[in-house]
Amino acid sequence: MGFFAPWFLAGLVGLALPVYLHLLKRQTARPKPVSSLMLFESRTQSSTRHRRLRYFLLLSLRLLVLMLLILAFASPFVNRNTASLSSARLVLLVVDNSFSMRAGTRLADAKDAAMRVLSGKGAARAQVATFGSQLRLMTQAIEDQSALRAAVQAIQPGDGHGNFGELARAVRAMAESVHTPIELHLFSDMQRGDLAVTFSDMALPANVMLETHAVISKAQPNWTVESVDAPGQVWGKTAKPVHVQAVIAGYGTPAAQRTVSLVVNGKTTATKTVAVPANGRATVDFPALDVPYGFSRCEVKIDAADTFRADDLRRFAVERSDPQKVLLIHNYGDNRSPLYVGAALSAAAQSAFALESIDVHEAADRQPSNYAFIVLSDLNTLPPLLENSLTGYVRAGGSLLIAAGTSAGARSQIPIFGAHIAETRDYSRVPGRYMAVGSSDASYPAVAKTGGWPGVKFYYALAVDPGDALVIVRLGDQTPILLEKRIGEGRVVLFTSGLDNLTNDFPLQPAFVPFIEQTARYLGGSERQGGARLVDAYLDLRNTKEHAQGVEVTDPEGKRPLTLGEAASAQSFQLTEAGYYQIRLANGRQDEIGVNPDPKESNLDIIPDDVLALWRGNGGQSAPSAQIPSAPRKTAQTLWWYIMLLMLAFALAESAVASRYLGTQREE
């Protein structure tokens, strides 16, 4: 027996309190009237009598309640022999159905092994679960053999990436609610890639005994299409040829020639042969990807030469569409910002965007929803009609780039964006006469390729209160220069300086073109469309939960996995299967993506036996328990639950006894 938290035993000092109350506290007597004191004589008790313990039963009960409370905090446990608890144990059968189990007959072998364990489990309760990217329980803890066997038979291959750390975490959570010992049988191909980052993540609780059942004994060679680099969108009929680059990887393979094919909408459009070095990688380049208008389902395939055929292809989707229109609204007479923005867009974005620039007076009759995004450049005034129209456009999913410029300094806040303007910063008056960028968020798409805008000189900027907006770039004096805010389904990016080469020299710097290009892609939404994703990745469906517009997801099997309630409110969706998903987002945009299993699943290398033995031994024993199955295992059984029950009983008894004594005192 021991204590999980022995330092709480120091609370035993508190037992002195009831002793003090019962022993040392002087009894106070209320005067009692009598008819006459004629026959009475004065008598006082000796000091020892005063100090005599009163109400022994009550004192004992109070001491017991306090002692049990302290014991419960100290959390005592007893080490019980697991063998003696075998009748109360839970047999947990976990069958790995991650993507790698599709290779050969691995899943069938794992199910057979699970059946054999089920036959020999005796009368113990058992539970069947599958394990891909996370643990999924197939049954409750039951003894019914037929139901358990049916659950094992019903296990289907999955596309997820196994992670033993996730498995251990789920089992730890289960062990907290199941107080009986758990016998965990893991049926898996024991892929090395399934190991957690650190071994401590895979630690199992003391009452869990792990037994591993590896369905293969050695690593198998495997070729796979590791990755495909292709654009998600192609614009216009006369677009430049699009390159598709694929990486072919071999794991444990000899040097070999592999035939690689590019398939578009089921038709093989190009075939190449590539020499893959032993246990290495080779790159294949398809120079021209020709796809029709709309979404095309594309694949890069290699010829089958191993037992794991499911990973011989990699899917991606490409959309061909006309260039998207971008509207730039500027002040009357301002020719500089259309010039710089237009030049940057045409230089970088492969004709993806067609810029249309108008002055603010012409903007009233334009329909914002016809544009991929809108740029507001240094506007003196924003007519209320236009402001309302743009606000509605953003809420419905449109995007806006606002360059505040010098004219916004007269206002108290930025229109639509809503940020309060604290002050204007005129850096031409400070020593050095300009301010450079101080810090930037390198993970943000619009600044990721620009290296943090080196060498850009800012002469003028607005200091705004960011509020709940995301600050992406700050100047050297911490003035936010680039901010983003999500309003409704749309995005608004605020540039607190100008795009006109007057308030800064940004348009003349090399960073300006990639900034405009990436911002255009980001705001136009093209960076989110098409392309490929990995299984178990999450897809953003909407920005705000309140939006009533439903989304629609169609999985590779043509089913709609979202319920009506989820379609109306879900903000994200997990891609659980490999294949092509069709999506209609809350902002009305259509999308199609190819979903591929995690490339780590293609590496069929297995975990070394010594690592597995270490895991089975709970990380603390060098000798694997599987080798000494008859050795008695001690399991710590916590007793706090019983102590709390006992304490409740004593507390009730104490209440009853105390009320009786108090009643006696009242009569006195």
């Binding site: 005067p31 009692k32 009598v34 008819s35 006459s36 009475f40 004589e41 008598r43 006082t44 006696t664």
Partner: protein
Amino acid sequence: MLPRFLDPAVLAGISSLELVAKTVVDGFVAGLHRSPDFGFSQEFAEYRAYTPGDDLRHIDWNVYARSERMYLKRYRGETNSPLTVLLDASNSMQFGSHPVNKMDYARYLAASLFYLAIHGQRDAAGLITFDDEIRNYIRPSTRQGQLHRLLAGLEQAEAHARTDFSKPMRYFQELVTRRGMVLIVSDFWESPESIVRTIEPLRFHGNEVVLFHVLDPEDVRPKLSGPSILVDMETQDRLEVTPDYTQTEYREKIEAHLADLRDRTQAAGMDYCLLMTDRPLDDALREYLTLRGGRN
């Protein structure tokens, strides 16, 4: 007997003192109807030889005709024996460890005695309420409405000060002029010697004197669960007393006190009756009737 109607706890629920008295006496009389002691109506008692000076009207002439000797025929005739109740209304009479305190018990007792005397015996009845002074005096009378006056006097008797027999006793002798029965109802928290010495003169006047000693059960056996401060209800003196003392020495003292009081009163030719407030009232009524019978 119907003890249910004599139980003080039951009587405490009856608000009208007359009803209490009627309930007690009727219940008591109904229980006594088979008693051989009962009956003192006008009936033949004895023959006695004539002596000169006797009233000639009482000579039995039939006997003279047969035997030529003159005998007087004597009857056990009714007599009027005025009843005076001296009720102690001191503070100590308010003590009670159960719903009926000593004062209530004394009221019930006095009311019952009045009822029995006036309705049963046609006797004159009077009341003197005292503590250390005479608080109220209703002279004995057989007039109509006397019972109501007495009951009203009992109702008004409120416990005031401390008991002091010596002071009001001087007036008792002046007020009790006719020979009769004097019943003193008190808890007698005085030394027996002093009590007897003070009351004795009443006996010398030819009265039948009875001491009804009313005590609460806790006066005899106090219950203390621990060391307690006791407060005298009359003097407000305080005393710390332990349970050990009340269970040993006090009991011996109170028993000696009661025995002493009983012995001294009987030695002085008076009757003594100890009444506990948790006991029915019939003991007191029986005592009264026994005395009343003896006076015929």
